[in-house]
Amino acid sequence: MGVLSEELRDQIRAQFPNYPNKRAVVLPALHLVQDAQRHVSIEAVREIAELLELHPSEVHDTMTFYQFFKDEKHKLGKHRVWVCRSISCMLRGGEELLQHMCEKLHVHPGQTSADGKVTMEFAECLGACDGAPCILVDDEAHMNITPEKADELLKSL
């Protein structure tokens, strides 16, 4: 019994029929593990590799390419909040919003609030530019965000 529960292993195995080989399950597996454990530890990487019949370095290589996945030194909080910094949001106050939210939580992008609830990050265009400035809470976009709305949102998490 390693760090991946039997339930997680089953969820990963359930992906196998979708693809002609197991390597294609690397991203789905990383998502499943990070969603459940808020990071992907090196032990988890080894166990994913074993399930997918890969060398751990292959899983690790993919994982580290996508800065989306975090190792044990950068564990995510309960929620992940991304503030868009790309052009359409920047033109409508996105960077000021990022600053406001970071100050509110006393964190820098990439860090997690002291209560462990929120990891703040900046993002490139979230594809919600019609509601600039916008933020993403986990995977739900929230549009036309003012500092007041941001405060309310943070409180609700």
Binding site: L91, C129, D139
Partner: protein, 444 residues
Amino acid sequence: MSTFEPTLLARINKPDSQSLETYRRDGGYEGFKKALGMAPVDVINQVKDSGLRGRGGAGFPTGLKWTFLPKDHPGPIYLAINADESEPATFNNRILMEQDPHQVLEGIAISCYAIKSKKAYIYLRYEYGRSYRALKKAIEECYAAGLFGQNIHGTGFDLDVVLHRGAAAYICGEETGLIESLEGKRAWPRIKPPFPAIEGLFRKPTIVNNIETMACVKQILDRGADWFKSMGVPPDPSNPRDAGSYGPKLYCISGHVNKPGCVELPMGITARQLIDEHGGGVWKGRNAKAVVPGGISMGFLSASELDTPLDFNGPGKVGCLGLGTAAITVIDDHTSMVDVLFNCARFFAHESCGQCTPCREGTAWMHKILARIRMGEGQSRDLDLLNEVASSMGIIPGTTICGLSDGAAWPIKNAIKKFRSEFEEYIQTGRKTVKPSDALMEVH
């Protein structure tokens, strides 16, 4: 324009627009049924005849791309749907997937039948959680209704559709980066040829198409090639490589306008019309200084170029890279182009996959040089240096594997050409811009 009836967006914002039940009530999946009664080659010919060109940015003729697949291939052949939509200012795929997922799925089913593929993967950017849930539910409905699965409608045609989530990387939108990512690897684009139609996903023949392209395919099957061709702009006789710009197009409008949004219009509308007639005008009663014509990779239109038609041919005529995603960002006359260009350069430095030296180093240097200009430490010769770096990277000069670097170079080249005096004045008068948020993002 007032008489134009949207088709791609016809069902958007209607109650329960995502459900199979309402979709069918509106005539949904009749086009797929029609296709199933045709020979696959006739479906391809209909799409060819329509003049449809891909909506993902490159504008390649869709029917023609499909004919590049090897003839009589034993399979598998894959359809990989590009739903990575990450070009800054672009959000039309999101609206289609969130609000009318069945329209997209029907286009996918028709396309699979046409190219004899039994398996479609939808590569969806992770950030589109709402699209993910809408598509997931719609796919489940299709299996339950016998629209997907084995022996569909007793025709012997089988189809599986798999949703695959990305992990927040722009380069996964480049079609071979997408393929590598789907295979579970880092999203390093492949050297082409071989093109995906010959050797793509899992080393099998693969067609990569955009979400909006799929919605167009569905409408073409419903309404016919002539209907599609009745809209838009015919080929420019002075450009032998222009294949025309037909059909409706989803234009995104964002930035400094009163009413940002996505509108469907016949191809060939101008940036000025988009701003004034559909975007509610420039905000705060100001004027536009510059407009991004189709995602930041395409460069900039200056204020005197706003009557450029946004078809596949127009933006190139005024020095832009192309139409791109037809997503305009309006920049008002109170905004510094130094800030704008810095923002663009930072994006590409962050998103270069790092595989090719001119792109990895070039995007990093352009970002650094613009940061120093912006902080008031620039010199006039920095502008030529930027130009030199920008001109040395990309598929066009032949130094890189994919088009990200051409897209990184273009806003730089355009801005320095079209707004040079503003940059020179900024540097010479010793202006400085330091936002508190800059420091926050340096740390990352």
